[in-house]
Amino acid sequence: MEYLVKRARNGDAEAFVALMELNKESMKKVTFAYLQSEEDRADAISQTILDAYENINKLKKTAYFKTWLIRILINNCIDIYRANDKYTNYKDSPEEFGESIVNILSKPLEENIEFIDLLKCLPEDSRIIFVLYYGEQFTTAEIAKILNMKENTVKSKIHRGKETLRKVL
């Protein structure tokens, strides 16, 4: 990926597109942590692509590309979240939360548990951390940097989220 980052930084649009495709799945998951509407998630990703392209020449270390990209994406998700009604976006309705649990409990655990159902069972402020930690394999130190919070806060939110899952499921 670093080769592509270097190419993109030098103005190679196709290398940049390839980079975005490589990170598409990660970006989709991150948006789920903040935004319910598919349209909003699509907007957040497309805006992130444009922002990243506009600023990639300012990225100093190619190794930090993904961290940098995710930070831009999170910022855009938060912008959209704020621009909408704050509490209709981020909060699941009680019905949807109940539905998520029913979806999970109705299947044996070995069967496919939907990523989204599990995400909705988590406390809101743990969702992005779970996506980054378990989905994207960022370390807690990296997550702390991305989210601008203390590393032990990240750890406690992971713990808290796991406790929630233990009790809910």
Partner: protein, 508 residues
């Protein structure tokens, strides 16, 4: 079958590929087209940005204000953009200490209503204040008139009299400029336009105070507890102790638990021996824990590996039983030799629907929330251990931990004067049953009383409140311990470069 919260299971679920989305794919293709058409990278207006919405962090950054957010006007944008880079940095440096801003008193309902109306007028119609919030060097400098910011303690002082429209507008102006400066600086860092945040001067003033003692020992203190004569301080693999009031500690016990070990918590028992919980980690996760009992001379009495606990707060009752609360969860009770006696779950929230002060309702039924409080266990004068926990979000309750009945017996409910999102730590009192530390101040509480009494405001603290640790001493003093310039080890423990102690007498 895998456990639903096991790391392996979670990695599997969170790594699974998501379904394709035509909508997302389509939007991505549109963005790619813009990029391909603009290889010169001089796109300007072709890259539409989302409209900047101000101040939704008001509720986060400013405690006690439910921020209704209105669309920003040209007036507002102009006022914010008039702040040049130097002004932004200065505003950030002078006003922000990394903590939420508190008010010295709650606004009245009438003031809140006017605040909302004026906020609308400020953002939409360009109704701005004539003056500014006054900056205070210390809380003693507040004259009781106007609005004053004591930035070192993140406190906005409000007059006792009803706030005027001009004062409310000054608060609104201050809040918006601060939020704007933080967001602008954040964005610049994110975009690679600047390396780091402006260097803030945390607690310089406090460090210069005479009451503050600089620790001169060798331990990178991550944990502390108090005995009758000594303060015990622990680093990652060593425990030392020092006489109360001194600045240098002496070796007491060397931890032997392999590599990557952290002293999680300690408590002194009735014989002045020390119970210690050690946790071993791999740099990311805690792997195992060990309970160690050391006598007053620093000799090992016993050590025992724990199966269920990896990290917890610890307290010992007068009969030598050891209580450990897993952070955010259940309480485990062990006998004096480390044999498990029982596990006690925390009760569910009392209410099924909870309404936050800003009017947002959440459904609590069937949900599991963060019900515990760090440093929540305390041995009281009667030798029994009590637990401070949340009976509802933002509402603290106090319970006796009954190891024989394996239950919590509620002894106080709704006893803290106001709801707070930032509870708390509980300590044994000297002139009262308990001392409770909360973000807004220190309270004392006696069993049977209807409410706790505030005995110290947070702005009177020798240090910025957040991140400090607290001990209560036999002489009635409270000891504040604060680490500065800290870093984090692999397991999230703070490794401070410097530590300060401050001994404070509470006014009852």
């Amino acid at each position: 079958m895998q456990k639903a919260n096991s790391d392996e299971f979670l990695r599997e679920i969170f790594s699974a590929k998501l379904e394709e989305s035509d909508l997302i794919d389509g939007k991505m293709q549109e963005a790619y087209e813009v990029i391909r058409k603009d290889k010169s990278r001089k796109r300007g207006s072709s890259l539409t940005r989302f409209v900047y919405r101000c101040a939704t962090v008001l509720g986060v950054l400013f405690l006690g204000i439910g921020g209704t957010v209105f669309a920003a006007s040209n007036f507002y944008q102009k006022r914010m953009e008039e702040m040049n880079a130097k002004q932004l940095d200065e505003f950030y440096l002078n006003a922000f200490q990394g903590s939420a801003i508190r008010f010295s008193r709650e606004m009245t309902e009438e003031e809140r209503e006017r605040y909302k109306e004026l906020q609308y007028a400020y953002e939409r119609d360009g109704k701005f204040p004539e003056g500014n919030v006054t900056y205070l060097q210390g809380y003693e400098d507040y004259t009781g008139k106007g609005v004053g910011l004591y930035a070192a303690r993140s406190t906005l002082f409000l007059p006792d009299e009803t706030l005027t429209d001009e004062e409310l507008l000054q608060i609104i102006d201050f809040q918006h400029k601060l939020v704007y400066s933080i967001e602008k600086i954040n964005a610049e860092i994110q975009n690679g336009e600047r390396e780091e945040y402006p260097q803030q001067k945390f607690d310089d003033q406090a460090i210069a105070e005479d009451a503050v003692i600089a620790y001169e020992g060798n331990v990178d203190i991550v944990c502390a507890t108090e005995g009758k004569e000594y303060i015990y301080v622990a680093g990652t693999n060593v425990i030392e102790r020092m006489k109360i009031g001194e600045s240098i500690s002496e070796p007491f016990y060397e931890v032997d638990f392999g590599e990557n070990v952290v002293v999680q918590s300690m408590d002194v028992d009735m014989e002045q021996g020390l119970y210690v919980l050690l946790s071993r980690h791999d740099g990311e996760n805690y792997l195992s824990a060990k309970l160690v009992h050391i006598d007053v001379e620093g000799n090992l009495i016993f050590e025992k590996n724990l199966e269920k606990i990896k990290t917890a707060d610890l307290e010992v009752d007068s009969e030598g039983r050891v209580y450990m609360q897993v952070f955010g969860g259940e309480v485990y009770v062990f006998d004096a030799e480390g044999t498990e006696l029982c596990t006690i779950e925390l009760p569910p929230y009392k209410d099924k629907v909870y309404v936050y002060p800003n009017g947002v309702e959440i459904d609590l039924s069937g949900t599991s929330s963060y019900k515990a409080i760090k440093n929540s266990l305390c041995r009281a004068e009667d030798g029994k251990v009590y637990l401070l926990y949340e009976e509802n979000p933002w509402e603290a309750a106090l319970a006796l931990v009954d190891p024989e009945g394996a239950r919590l017996v509620e002894v106080a409910s709704e006893f803290m004067p106001a709801k707070s999102p930032h509870a708390s730590a509980i300590l044994k009192g000297t002139d009262s049953d308990f001392v409770i530390w909360r973000l807004d101040g220190v309270y004392t509480y006696n069993l049977g009383d209807s409410s706790a009494v505030k005995v110290m405001e947070s702005y009177e603290s020798p240090f910025q409140w957040e991140g400090a640790d607290f001990l209560t001493l036999e002489n009635g003093q409270i000891l504040f311990i604060k680490a500065f310039d800290h870093e984090y080890d692999g397991a999230g423990k703070v490794i401070p470069e410097s530590v300060r102690f401050a001994y404070i007498s509470l006014e009852q």
